[in-house]
């Protein structure tokens, strides 16, 4: 069955020139993943891992100085690479086939108009009916997500943070898109609200059958929502496996540390810390980017980066210490100066 999203060897760099200083930031460096249909793929990474750049790139929402240096992005509902679409075609698929849920609901809802206006702005041009029929569809949709239709007549600031995020989720799913990108949707919410919003996202995904990439740095959120989990470090994927596998059998030392350092109620044993800090993407270390902090670093780790290798069923790791099957990765050719600019 064709994948919902196929990313092959994606590289996206920032090239910045300012007063004679040239800086190249390799935010996304050779990433290949495959998201199946009806699956929630979790993407975990810290603040400097490049995950935000990655989802911006796959949504074709990038602007100079960020450019796609090489690679392929193929959605299941498109017959060609997303960067080969004309601006009109891109605008036609946005929201209807590809939508997103952002971290702040106020980034999506117009603060000076009522919520119903946001629904009109986003979805009306895709659901081509009369206004009355359109709103009947919206009401039905809200009812399926257990939201009162009265939210439509409220202003965003009249709703609580959790309620706004629920409205944003309803907004993102109204056109039944094949693919949803969720960028830290619950990070800004309170603990109590977070659980119920996560449940709503899960139910919405199951009900409408969309595929989803769910990005967050919080591993416990992934435990609750992701079917498969990809761990990103310094612009590369270092491990990918079904969620349960990641927590019970992490093979990469970085993943192992993240999992082991999660505090749990009922467990007061001392947890070990990791030394060093995530590298700057403008000047990453050679070889495996994790080697300066890795307790298992070997000579080869300093020289050539390991390739992301499939070890067990559905379990990919990029670490020489994890298994002798992991071989050095291909030498990355220097990136040309941006072969594709973004679509405006």
């Amino acid at each position: 069955m064709e994948a919902a999203l196929l990313v092959e060897n994606l590289r996206a760099y920032y090239l910045m020139r300012y007063f004679g200083i040239v800086r190249e930031v390799r935010a996304v460096d050779d990433i290949s993943i495959e998201v199946q249909r009806n699956e929630i793929y979790g993407l975990a990474g810290e603040s400097s891992s490049g995950k935000t750049t990655f989802i911006k790139t796959i949504a074709a929402a990038i602007r100079p100085p960020l450019k796609v240096a090489s690679g392929r992005i193929k959605y299941g509902f498109l017959d060609r690479d997303i960067y080969d679409l004309s601006p009109e075609a891109l605008s036609a698929i946005r929201w209807k086939h590809l939508s997103y849920i952002t971290q702040g609901s106020m980034n999506v809802l117009n603060p000076i108009r009522r919520v119903r206006q946001s629904f009109l702005d986003f979805a009306f041009r895709h659901i081509i009916r009369s206004k009355r029929e359109f709103f009947k569809i919206v009401d039905g949709h809200l009812a399926r997500l257990h939201l009162a239709p009265s939210v439509l007549s409220a202003y965003p600031h009249e709703l609580s943070g959790g309620m706004r995020q629920r409205v944003a989720i309803a907004l993102a799913t109204i056109c039944r898109p094949e693919f949803i990108i969720a960028d830290e949707p619950t990070t800004a919410l309170d603990v109590v609200v977070q659980k119920s919003v996560l449940r709503m996202i899960r139910e919405a995904q199951q009900e409408f059958g969309s595929s989803m990439i769910f990005v967050t740095h919080d591993l416990t959120v992934h435990a609750n929502i992701a079917d498969r989990l990809g761990i990103m470090y310094a612009g590369r994927i270092v491990e990918e496996a079904p969620t349960r596998e990641i927590f019970h059998n992490p093979m990469h030392p970085y993943t192992a540390h993240l999992v082991a350092s999660l505090p749990r109620i009922g467990d007061a044993t001392l947890k070990k810390a990791l030394s060093g800090a995530p590298p700057s993407l403008a000047d990453p270390p050679g070889g495996c980017r994790f080697h300066p902090r890795c307790p298992l670093a070997m000579d080869i780790c300093r020289q050539v980066h390991p390739a992301l290798t499939t070890l067990a069923a559905n379990h990919r790791v990029a670490c020489y210490a994890a298994s002798p099957l992991v071989k050095p990765g291909a030498e990355l050719a220097p990136a040309p100066g941006g072969i594709r600019a973004a679509n405006p």
């Binding site: 416990t220 609750n224 009922g266 800090a277």
Partner: protein, 290 residues
């Protein structure tokens, strides 16, 4: 009423004139903070903090975690304890001195040398246009009374070593050259320069990357155990509070709903709100239940 006359001083450059060393470290007594908004004709009031009381012992340093969601008043309480805003009613006493009686620059400086804050966002806590060692040197100068570059650098280096850094790593650097973890540790080092008795940390690791977080959380533990500093640790994360604190205080909408030893309260919550919080905590075990 507590007299402010100078008392016999300790040895060293700093004088503990106004603070008694053998009374309670901190006593918060029926503190309320009410904000009123609106114009002349229609004012509404709401209580950010409502009748909060607790105390910290001086003899035994401890970590008290104040747990609450947004709107619970925990940040307002922190600012009152730091003497940044005054309560509407109630008193705060630090080592026998009522905070409302601290006036003048000298008095405030002396109070700050005993009570220091740690902020949530390590990148915002430093002026991006200035080097980070500047704050360390200023603290060394004002609180410890040291003069001269060499003395400042020695004091800064001492403080940085206590948090696992060194002056060589930090000297001359701008905030963007350091990671969130390093910056937060530098903040803690800066707070330690004056050898404070109490540190008020407002969500100190929520904006620090996951791989750096545990080292900072463990650092707080060692501050309590080795440097004998008491810490008020404000957070919304129950799991970290369980891991690190001795006592917890749960706040909801300005009121304290439950307080007690950390392990007891979080394992066996009595108040329904605490139980709700406990239940909403996500954990990696959830992966097995799905």
């Amino acid at each position: 009423m507590q007299s402010l006359r100078p008392r016999p001083v300790e040895s060293g450059l700093r004088t503990h004139e106004t603070y008694q060393l053998n009374s309670d470290l901190l006593t918060v007594d029926h503190v309320t903070k009410v904000y009123s908004t609106g114009g002349v004709l229609g004012r509404t009031t709401f209580a950010a903090i409502n009748n909060v009381s607790f105390s910290l012992q001086a003899a035994r340093p401890e970590i008290l975690a104040i747990i609450g969601e947004s709107g619970s008043g925990k940040t307002t309480l922190a600012r009152i304890i730091l003497n940044m805003i005054a309560p509407t009613s109630g008193t705060i006493t630090f080592r026998g001195t009522d905070l409302s009686r601290i006036h003048g620059r000298r008095g405030r400086l002396e109070f700050m040398s005993h009570v220091q804050p740690i902020f949530q966002n390590p990148f915002e806590a430093f002026n991006p246009l200035k080097r980070v060692d500047r704050y360390l040197f200023a603290s060394a100068r004002r609180f410890v009374g040291l003069r001269g570059r060499a003395a400042h650098e020695a004091a800064a280096d001492r403080a940085l070593k206590q948090v696992g850094l060194s002056l060589g790593e930090v000297k001359g650097r701008f905030p963007h050259e350091l990671s969130g973890g390093q910056l937060q540790r530098t903040s803690i080092a800066r707070a330690l320069v004056s050898s404070p008795a109490l540190i008020v940390a407002d969500e100190p690791v929520s904006m620090v990357d996951a791989s750096l977080r545990m080292s900072i959380v463990n650092l707080f533990k060692s501050l309590r155990d080795e440097l004998k500093v008491s810490i008020i640790y404000i957070t919304h994360d129950l799991a970290t509070a369980y891991y690190i604190s001795d006592r917890v205080m749960i706040m909801q909408k300005g009121k304290v709903v439950e307080t007690g030893p950390a392990r007891d309260v979080l394992s066996n919550p009595q108040h329904p709100y605490t139980a709700l919080l406990r239940e909403s905590v996500l954990s990696s075990d959830d992966a097995d239940r799905r």
